[in-house]
């Protein structure tokens, strides 16, 4: 059977790794290639680079980051942040990315999902959704680092994204993100029940138990974390050892 995946995420700004807490207050830390190598040594099943560079001109730096990482790290690499065209996909895949994640561009132009899937295959098209719970109990998809409510129902959007050819959903709970109180299980269950592709759980993990909980109580295929690994509160290896003890299949 397939292993559950543990995915460290590196937030990259102007070619450097940073980590925002609750999408604000960003700290500068290290070199993305070195961080990715370290994670790979710890047993990361995949590495995500999230480019939070503000301007279009500086975006080519992420292509260099991917190219340099792909020379030294031999697990799948996913890149997200600011991708808005099939040409952006092509540039990142050519540099050595295996998957490209799109968020606001897909909400703005849902046809981008199918265009990219037709040209490069669904397996490399990840749709990232930042979801926040509304007062009426529904979830909305947010964009611009969580500042703008699109008004789009996040669960329905996940389903539509799959129908349009997304190969994977990267689901971040804006409510759980940064809290360290655990993944947003109700949100994950709602999304997992309507999609037929793998779902990556993101936002909220703070302890080893949160990782086993997300795999025991939802159908999530992978769990992603950024600051937890970045500040070395836990290592990827510790998480996987814990999951193995809980009889959850992982690559060790």
């Amino acid at each position: 059977m397939l292993n559950k995946r543990i995915i460290p995420c590196l937030d990259v700004k102007d070619g450097k790794v940073v980590k925002g807490i609750n999408f604000v207050g960003i700290k500068d830390v290290g070199d993305p290639v070195e961080c990715a190598e370290m994670y790979s040594r710890q047993g990361a099943d995949e590495i995500v680079f999230l480019d939070i560079t503000a301007t279009h001109e500086e975006r080519k730096t992420i292509v260099d980051v991917v190219r340099n990482t792909a020379k030294k790290v031999f697990v799948p690499l996913t890149v997200g942040g600011g991708i808005s065209s099939v040409e952006d996909f092509a540039a990142l895949l050519r540099a050595g990315a295996d998957k490209v994640s799109i968020n606001s561009a897909a909400l703005k132009d849902p046809a981008l999902i199918s265009k990219a899937a037709d040209r490069f295959g669904s397996q490399c098209v990840v749709v990232a959704i930042d979801a926040k719970k509304m007062e009426d109990g529904s979830y909305h998809a947010f964009v611009a680092g969580g500042r703008i409510d699109t008004g789009v129902d996040a669960v329905a959007w996940a389903k539509e994204a799959c129908e349009r050819g997304a190969g994977e959903i990267l689901l971040t709970s804006m409510d759980a993100d940064g809290t360290k109180k655990g993944f947003d299980l109700p949100l994950l269950n709602e999304v997992c029940s309507v999609v037929t592709v793998p779902v990556i759980a993101s936002g909220g993990c703070g302890t080893l138990e949160h990782f086993s909980e997300v795999f025991e109580k939802t159908d999530a295929d992978a769990a992603l974390a950024a600051s937890l690994f970045h500040y070395r509160e836990l290592t990827v290896g510790e998480v996987k050892t814990h999951l193995r003890e809980k009889n959850i299949p992982v690559r060790l």
Partner: protein, 200 residues
């Protein structure tokens, strides 16, 4: 020198990066002479079977691959592995390179398709030179929707996905990996290193 065969259907960069990392000498080529002169061959491949066979034919490489693959170590990766078989059902019935008996069919299983992620190797042939140093249940990275159907003598390793999927096949000098060794961490690098060791 390993020739990585470039026929316009495949992401060659990851394979090149892995061979460079391992210090194996290689060239990327679609030149028949270079393929004949190489000491080992790698056939990558991403995409659909009919399109890839068409591109091999357009490049005029079908015959040279069939002739050379039986003379020196040859490794097909992912779609490059599927092309080694006699035929495929993907979209339309298409003949392959017929280097290994068997055919390629859609994966039929109760789980999500594509079969994408890290799965465990169930080693069938412990004498396979590519599996030297690889342990039972080591994980490798797969991304595919079609699978080979072949018989025991050619199956070096399978993986379980509700159905037993051929993961590593071999016949003489011809090897095929359904998974991506270049994306399978230390285990994948070891398999590529083992292949490099077979190449003079």
């Amino acid at each position: 020198m390993i020739a990585i065969i470039d026929y316009g259907a495949g992401n060659l960069f990851s394979v090149q990066n892995a061979l460079s990392y391992l210090g194996l000498s290689f060239q990327v080529t679609k030149d028949k002479k270079a393929i004949e002169n190489a000491d080992g061959l790698i056939l990558p491949g991403v995409g659909a079977f009919p399109d890839a066979m068409e591109k091999l034919k357009e490049s005029g490489l079908v015959e040279v691959i069939k002739n050379e693959a039986v003379k020196k170590p040859f490794l097909g990766i992912c779609l490059g592995m599927q092309l080694l078989f006699e035929e495929s059902d993907e979209f339309t019935l298409t003949h392959g390179l017929s280097l290994i008996p068997g055919r390629v069919e859609k994966i039929v299983c109760p789980y999500k398709i594509p079969h994408m992620g890290w799965n465990h190797l169930e080693i069938q042939n412990t004498d396979s030179p590519l599996l030297y140093g690889i342990k039972q249940n080591d994980s490798v990275y797969f991304v595919h929707s079609y699978m080979a159907k072949t018989t025991a003598p050619y199956l070096s390793a399978v993986c379980d996905y509700g159905v037993k999927i051929p993961a590593l096949v071999e016949r003489g000098t011809v090897f095929g990996a359904q998974f991506h060794p270049e994306k399978s961490g230390e285990v994948g690098l070891r398999i590529l290193k083992n292949f490099g060791g077979l190449v003079k």
